[in-house]
């Protein structure tokens, strides 16, 4: 009786896991099948033989490699810049002695988390056109950096507030200026929070679709989500090849997640609760 009682929750939870995981398995199986007929006749089963043709075709012909590298470089660059700016602001606001101004600046930045960002798509499009950088990677990097700032500030400022003041006092007595304090004391101590924020920002940039879809038209500049949608529209009769494309765009994120899942979960939940 007790054993039965213990397995009932697992039955429900395993059912849920199946719903979460099976779609991925379905796509992986399909990616090894030779054509639509093959998928239709045997949708659940393993492919007859393992052939990487679909992967080679997707990577080479469909330029998944280009999109992949674009996403990687935009994602990393924007995440690094937003962390640098957010860390500088957080340091000034939490550790420097200007309490009244700091409180106002901090509250203003938090306001950014309330603004639904896709309603700003059109004005930002206008800004990009005025700056004449539409259809360059800058058109994505600038808004990505700006978008990540409120969340990054919330996390980094909370972390910096928890640092004890004695270390700073000692460093100041040893002759460090405030800029030196930031670079040599605060940043090294904040690394754990920085890593978390970096991953969250990077994933956000890697996954972003709306801006990337409307601000870039040159095919060689497109990011992975946009490239994948274009790829689907072009090859939407070849589901085997499309599946290979999906695998390419999902696997890197899964690898990052497998390695860093603790930090990702912690960062995302902390950010959303505090926001």
């Amino acid at each position: 009786m007790r054993a039965i009682k213990k397995t009932i929750p697992h039955i429900f939870l395993m059912g849920y896991l199946l719903i979460i995981l099976y779609p991925f398995l379905f796509v992986v199986f399909s990616s090894f099948k030779t054509n639509n007929q093959d998928i239709a006749s045997n949708p659940f089963g393993l492919p007859g033989s393992i052939s990487f043709d679909n992967y080679v075709n997707a990577w080479v012909n469909a330029k998944i490699s280009t999109y992949f590298l674009n996403s990687l470089y935009i994602g990393i660059l924007a995440a690094c810049v937003s962390i640098l700016f957010a860390a500088m602001l957080s340091f000034a606001v939490t550790r420097m002695r200007y309490n009244k101004i700091s409180a106002i600046v901090f509250q203003l930045i938090l306001l950014g988390m309330l603004i639904p960002n896709n309603s700003l798509l059109l004005p930002i499009y206008g800004i990009m056109r005025k700056l004449d950088i539409l259809d360059t990677h800058m058109a994505l990097i600038l808004p990505y950096v700006a978008n990540a700032i409120p969340f990054s500030v919330v996390i980094l400022a909370a972390f910096m507030r928890s640092l004890p003041g004695e270390i700073e006092e000692a460093a100041v007595i040893d002759g460090l200026s405030s800029a030196g304090l930031f670079a040599r004391i605060i940043i090294p101590l904040t690394i754990p929070a920085i890593v978390t924020v970096f991953i969250i920002n990077f994933l956000g940039n890697w996954n972003e679709f709306l801006l990337a879809n409307y601000f870039l038209s040159n095919d060689a500049l497109k990011t992975l989500p946009v490239g994948m949608v274009g790829f689907r529209d072009a090859y939407n009769t070849n589901y085997a090849q499309m599946s290979a494309g999906i695998v390419f765009s999902v696997v890197p994120v899964m690898i990052i997640y497998a390695i860093l899942q603790e930090q990702i979960i912690e960062g995302v939940t902390a950010g959303s609760v505090k926001g």
């Binding site: 697992h10 700016f85 420097m96 700003l120 059109l122 589901y239």
Partner: protein, 294 residues
Amino acid sequence: MNKALRNPLIYVLFILPAFILFLAFFIYPVFTAVNNSFTSWNGISKNVHYIGFDNYVQAFNDLAFWKSVRNNVYFILFSCFIQVPLIIIFSLLIANVKRFKGLYKTAVFMPSIMSTAVIGILWGFIYNPDFGLANEVLGLFGVSPVYWLSDKNWAMISILITNAWQWTGFYIVMVLAAILSIPKELDEAAAIDGATGFQRATKITLPLIMPIVSVVIMLSIAGAMKAADIVLVMTKGGPAGSTDVMATYMIRYAITSFRHGFGNSIAVLIFVFTIIITVLYQVLIAKRTERIEY
């Protein structure tokens, strides 16, 4: 000490880069959106005509606009009345199992880190009427194939299911963290007093996690108002506008038919509706679920 940390030049230099970007990409766009919403601007030409509230009047008189509002409401209702109960049930189940807890927690979160666009493509394939997984599973039970994304009775619900598939795990992890932070003694004391597992879940755990459930509802409302990429990728708002949300309606007018001024008025409406719902929710419901200290 004070001298080093009271250097006004450094203070300003450190705040400026982030602050300028913030003003340029959050504050300034809000003002230009409001300003442009009163114009008939096409987004390109030099001369701009102010037309007062005409754009808003036109939006309110457009049946397609209200259809898109209704679909945003479906997003909200689906998450509040279907997703939230599921989130609570699965969180309680995961919190109370001894084995595989880590596996469940890790796996359920996975879809939330994936690109919405790619998930839209993946589920588009699953919903494929001829060889998609959804109809194959239905076939096992002898149900005839459904044209998930091209039938206007099914397209919206198909998108809601995909959206729920992506985000349910994200919220489960949040609620789970709240459950696991409740001191064990409370539960043990109730167990000694003879409370059943079900009683303990509903009388002790549930009231204690209401604040976080409230946050989850808030976040899903905000998410529902933002929904756009999943619709664009899966149906582009079709068939016949049956899956349009406010954001895709806005994009269609502003970018595809060059009615920039009108698009901006929709952007302002998205913003205003979001604030109204948020404030209403805070005043009517969230206030009653006060924070509980252990």
